[in-house]
Symmetry: C2
């Protein structure tokens, strides 16, 4: 059995090449990591639990990748550039190879986004992964909040809902050829999209708990309502996609004058605080979203 | 049974009075919190698990206080001023009152140190509390690292070892009058001490895993050794105190010329990388420290 020290060594230098360019003057190894940058820092924490956020038999590499990806998704939703992350893992696994695979998954996403692992914790306990992500606005960009949607703004998403949901089902059914499996296990943090819309969108949220639930949160924070055209929301399987989470897309509002054609336009923000779901096809949906409790 | 939303509401505005003075321009409620300060940010994560870091029947208020305190201890070890923290809780508890007591404990320490809760996560799962602490150097102070101890420096601690160890034993024995119980459940993060020594100490670490083990880490990071006089280390129960963690004191090195009389001087840093433990009383101790795995 490996010691804590040996296991930590597997992770210690992940993303170390990016310390300097990301303003990290001390990485792991001291009591704290240190950022020294002149721009604001945005930060968020996300827990990933076995049997809640991923199946118990999921590959370690995917569990690791996904845990970091969903934390980066929050940086994307702020329109920011990711700088670094920390990783606190509780696990009962005794096989060093499992931790090696975890480290591979973490390394994969660190290299993909050029971010550094700056700290962490490793404890013996039921599988639980906590990732804290740190970011900063791209040069010349605003920080994108969720509370600034304006009446008349167009509500957009960037990809069909329910892809991750289908991916998880396909994986459980052992349909390993399914293109959707990656959407579940390796969600692409929408950093590029966040950067692209940071100065044109009025508000933004990531769709982790279900499109309609998250849209509802953004509208509440903005003290607005909306008319949503259900027929215009691209779905993957069925209407339940709208209330299923895990897509980690961005849902955002853009003033009509600044709109680009590349996004899916699913509704319009209204002054009236009500959210109206309309459908010419007679679809009947209500807002549910994922309850963690 | 309470919803996730209702439970989160118990915590949402903890320390909100300190957003402004601590450079927090957005607290909880968006995808990320935002710091906008011109000074460096130090940050660290700590996991607290049931049956590892605290007994399963520990009071919720104490569990909460302690989880935040041990994260602040890392800020103290950097000689920094704490600004904020985030809190990710996994719990199976269904009683809202338990969460209220958790929130009370969190609120207690937030007010004590004038820090803000800036984000978090709440998930259903085995009890696991992750706290991320954020801090910044006090005006005019250096950031204190663990890798700068110099040969000739005097090694100090500020209080007897083993107080927390005795506190936990007393609590388990139901000796509720014991003054040590507080040392275990409500460890005082040594922020004041960190501030005091930031500009005179050459290196510092917090003693979470055992005095000798943590001292060893600091010396290794500094590429030095030491002569430690075991007889001079104040203990509470017996020599096992030296290898038992949970004290959350600071262990630091100070050039002899800058030394103050108030600290316990337990040894001297040497060029030679060996750590020599000496005792005129014939005490025989080796360095062990807490293994989480």
């Amino acid at each position: 059995m490996s010691t804590e020290f040996e296991l930590i060594e597997l992770f210690r230098s992940i993303g170390a090449d990016y310390y300097k360019e990301n303003g990290i003057v001390a990485g792991p190894g001291d009591d704290c990591a240190i950022f020294d940058i002149k721009t604001p820092i945005v930060t968020s924490v996300d827990s990933s639990l076995v049997d809640v956020h991923f199946p118990s038999n999921a590959p370690a590499e995917d569990i690791a990748y996904r845990s970091v990806a969903i934390a980066l998704s929050d940086i994307a939703a702020m329109g920011c550039k990711p700088l670094a992350f920390s990783l606190a893992v509780s696990a009962l696994e005794e096989n060093k190879n499992w931790y090696k695979k975890m480290a591979d998954g973490v390394n994969k996403i660190a290299e993909e986004f050029k971010i550094a692992l700056i700290g962490g914790d490793l404890t013996r306990g039921p599988l639980n992964i906590n990732v804290v992500a740190y970011g900063t606005p791209y040069a010349g960009n605003e920080i994108l909040m969720r509370n600034n949607a304006q009446p008349g703004d167009i509500i957009c998403i960037s990809k069909p809902t329910g892809r991750a949901r289908k991916g998880l089902i396909d994986w459980k059914m052992k349909n390993y050829d399914s293109v959707y499996i990656k959407d579940y296990f390796r969600p692409l943090a929408q950093i590029k999209l966040g950067k692209e819309i940071a100065n044109i969108a009025s508000a933004c949220i990531d769709t982790s708990d279900g499109l309609l639930a998250d849209l509802n949160k953004m509208l509440k924070a903005s003290e607005c309502g909306a008319i949503i055209n259900i027929d215009r929301i691209p779905i993957t399987t069925d209407l339940d996609d709208l209330n299923y989470g895990d897509d980690y897309d961005l849902c955002f509002t853009i003033p009509a004058t600044k709109l680009k054609n590349k996004y899916f336009k699913i509704g319009e923000v209204t002054q009236n605080k009500e959210i109206k779901l309309i459908s010419n096809k007679g679809y009947d949906v209500s807002i549910k979203g994922y309850e963690h409790f």
